[in-house]
Assembly symmetry: C2
Amino acid sequence: MTTTFLTEQIHLKKSFLCIGLDVDLTKIPAHLLDAEDPIFEFNKAIIDATHDLAVSFKPNTAFYEAYGIKGWMALEKTVNYINANYPEIFTIADAKRGDIGNTSSMYAKAFFEDLAFDSVTVAPYMGKDSVEPFLEFEDKHTILLALTSNVGAFDFQTQNVDGATLYQKVLETSQTWKNASQLMYVVGATKASYFGEIRQWVPDNFLLVPGVGAQGGNLQEVCAQGLNKNVGLLINSSRGIIYAGNGADFAVQARAEAFKLQTEMAAILAERY
Amino acid sequence: MTTTFLTEQIHLKKSFLCIGLDVDLTKIPAHLLDAEDPIFEFNKAIIDATHDLAVSFKPNTAFYEAYGIKGWMALEKTVNYINANYPEIFTIADAKRGDIGNTSSMYAKAFFEDLAFDSVTVAPYMGKDSVEPFLEFEDKHTILLALTSNVGAFDFQTQNVDGATLYQKVLETSQTWKNASQLMYVVGATKASYFGEIRQWVPDNFLLVPGVGAQGGNLQEVCAQGLNKNVGLLINSSRGIIYAGNGADFAVQARAEAFKLQTEMAAILAERY
């Protein structure tokens, strides 16, 4: 999928919402646990109920790997279901991978070919040759961790590296890599005050923004500094939407929460574009 | 597994060799491709042929994920086979994971409980709360990326952070985290000249050292500076051993290569301890 198409979808749906499919069997409605594949049944219900309010779905691979083979099968079924039924959706494998060159190539193959995701999140610590194998895939996107939403972001990411912060260094250095236009970046909503300077360094790239909702990030503050001419933001909410309800009507409850965020986004878009 | 037990095994086997099980279906002997599970059959043959010469096996998860469900099943069968037949072996899931706290907990569950590995490699970029969930598991080990073997290590890891390098900062900061004694570190053999100063910062922790063999690292140089009172090194070789042969006798060829490294290690141990 091209970013041009993604921006068109955002304007069409009046939404730049990404829904995080972080499925925990201890939190989903009890009646689903009898299904043959509870994780997929849960995802399917959430996707069907919210696909018109969101432009992206983002399964975090940790939640699938924790259930072994069954989890991996549920992940495969989920992305296949989205691709078959809602091909306009931008799919993100939130995998935070990254390894030496030949190994990163295997990860890229896993997520772009075997699972057919549109994008994958990648950690920058190992540098250029760990990221470029992902960037080789045409119309696929590599979402590099820059400034994450957790407290640990202050351990290394905001440290001073030769007059700049480490995350600034990651943003600026990665812009020199091959196919850098296919890069997006993770920037946490809990770091809203940083978006202004980040847009100076990467004015054109999409930012994937977790941390709205359960983690306390504020949508208005992020948008004030983070939007660019192509919108350029994907705001993720996971727990706040998918666990909005815990009964038979959980998907309806999830839709209601997604609708609240989408309504807020529609107003922001109307004002800005 | 405790590090005390691991050190005992090293002295018993006169080896601190770790064999990387990075299985690529385009490189394994053609006759195995007819097997029901070629990846597992390959691993089983390599493990049976070399288990007495190595103290550790390290599957890199990328090579398994690239084959989807079948790959994940092969990974599970491989670690189960090692645990059932050679419980004295220290198993490493080379997964380079790391995410916000509740998500890292899911990864830790995946690798320590579902797959029952002794250790997992973790990327440090997201800081303390992304790593501590792994450290909560007793007698399990978290192997943090510090100075990796690839060229990209110079993009960020060796950059100057307030008078120190980033990887020094990672080593020193992580030593203040809860259960830091369960930390090990990845330091590439291609960076042999750095081991002296690294041992000043982390004198006691084990170092997992990839990059001997195909990547050009030198065993003698690494050992000269890297050994500590408990040996403290696991030297990994992947391609140099597992792809030593490509015919019916591939496991014999792999054993011969492992034997060369083990013989060299035995001499080093005899001289030092």
